[in-house]
Point group: C2
Chain length 280, copies 2
């Protein structure tokens, strides 16, 4: 049996997707000193028994932590969800919830690159400013300051929403359904507002799926590993040319990882949550 | 302006989709004595100002009322919903709610013709017997006799549902979501249990869209008029060879049309509800 022994450098909570350095390896593909990204564990040193799933990092001019985000699972999630599920066309109106998060910030920028009109929602003024000033969203709003999400969405989308990139679920989804355009598409990436409820909130407006002929599709990144090369081909030049921005929220040390994970559910993080275990 | 004057023969409530005879016409496509199907009005004689949307009936060996159902809007709805939205494969497991209705009975038979395993739900023993004995469903159950729809579905689909043809909404949809298979497809055709509620019931299990990577898509027959030739090409031989069954529930006279319409919402009809205004 082949195995590789890694020194973890960066670590993202939830998925255990991280960046690590190979300390020792009997697998022919990996050598001591190589940097890799992929699923490891919440620990400083890991024994990886199935290293085939890991990606060897080749581009050393990119911040290593990016391989946990824009060049990792979040990147492929945004890429697959937006380009494969949402089938965007130039001029489409796009709404992204949790828009400053690891995935949302990329979806918004992909949408702008595709010639769409993009609005994002987030949970603080700081995040709303980030959406408009750093990520180039056309509009953004703080959902916590809106009395009625239906009215808020109608304000930004008077002619309706073509594409909704769903990250939150609950009341936001119900309001979005009322504001979708005919033949709209909803990529269901996550429902973070619902994960810690004993019972998810009821969604009452699914009738609009029929009236507006909406396609609503859930997806998981595990089905899209084959798109890593496409993501890299698109995103690496954009990073190097400064045409795409990726904001991270980094805490230091494995001891702080649990609090960082919990913070995701109350929106404490600003941008992609990263846990730095060692800096190289 | 061209118009045609029709004598109505058969009439279906809700949509005003009917079969009629031309009594007079200034439109070159239609002549006195022609039989047509399409959108008319709830009346014995109609002045149609836009006859282009009507279909001239060519096959005189088929019961005329079939042009309000299997060869009309219900037929195209079942055809488009099943073949275009559900993308069936041989061996798929298929669940149809309101399965003895105008559309459901066709979806079940299309699914059997495609080599699928098909289960239907309906609201009476008579309808359940019809599903199993006349339409060839593999299994059928009376949803009113089930304490827990989740358990009922698990009984008929121990390995899950690939395709759900949604006609009812509400609790049935919530139970189906728990029983879907990975990469399942839900064609949302109708939600008849919800239409007369002040507020539709909340659907709590949409998280399964992500976990099981489900595509849920609403559709309306108005987008699929181009499929009438495909429907006719497939279904006419099947009707003539007795390989497809279509059950209608006919009431006589326009006076009985409102009660027939209201009856749809409590499942009073057995099969496609037809109102006969004149018999030729």
């Amino acid at each position: 049996m082949q195995f590789s022994f890694f020194r973890s450098s960066y670590y993202t909570p939830i998925s255990g997707y991280g960046v690590a350095k190979v300390l020792d390896s009997t697998h022919p593909k990996f050598n001591k000193g190589d940097l890799v990204s992929g699923i490891t564990n919440w620990e400083e040193y890991s024994l990886i028994m199935n290293p085939e799933s890991l990606i060897k990092i080749q581009q050393m001019d990119i911040p290593l932590s990016y391989y946990t985000g824009i060049l990792g699972m979040a990147g492929v999630t945004a890429y697959a969800g937006f380009y494969e599920i949402c089938a965007p066309k130039k001029g489409d109106t796009v709404f992204v919830s949790a828009a400053s998060g690891a995935v949302g910030q990329l979806v918004g920028q992909f949408a702008k690159l595709s010639g769409c009109y993009v609005v994002g929602s987030a949970g603080s003024k700081e995040k709303v400013d980030l959406l408009k000033n750093d990520f180039g969203f056309d509009e953004a709003f703080n959902y916590k300051e809106e009395q009625d999400l239906n009215i808020a969405l109608n304000r930004y989308f008077p002619d309706g929403i073509d594409i909704y990139f769903e990250n939150v679920g609950g009341k936001m989804l119900d309001a979005v359904l009322c504001n979708m355009r005919v033949h709209g598409r909803i990529a269901v990436c996550g429902m973070i507002s619902q994960y810690n409820l004993n019972r998810p909130e009821g969604i009452n407006n699914l009738m609009f799926l029929i009236l507006k002929r909406i396609r609503m599709e859930g997806f998981l990144v595990v089905d899209y590993h084959h798109l890593y090369p496409n993501l890299f081909e698109m995103v690496l030049p954009l990073i190097r040319e400064g045409k795409i921005t990726y904001v991270e929220d980094t805490v230091d040390g494995l001891d702080n990882a649990p609090a960082a994970l919990v913070g995701l559910f109350s929106g404490k993080n600003v941008g992609k949550q990263v846990v730095a275990i060692a800096r190289e």
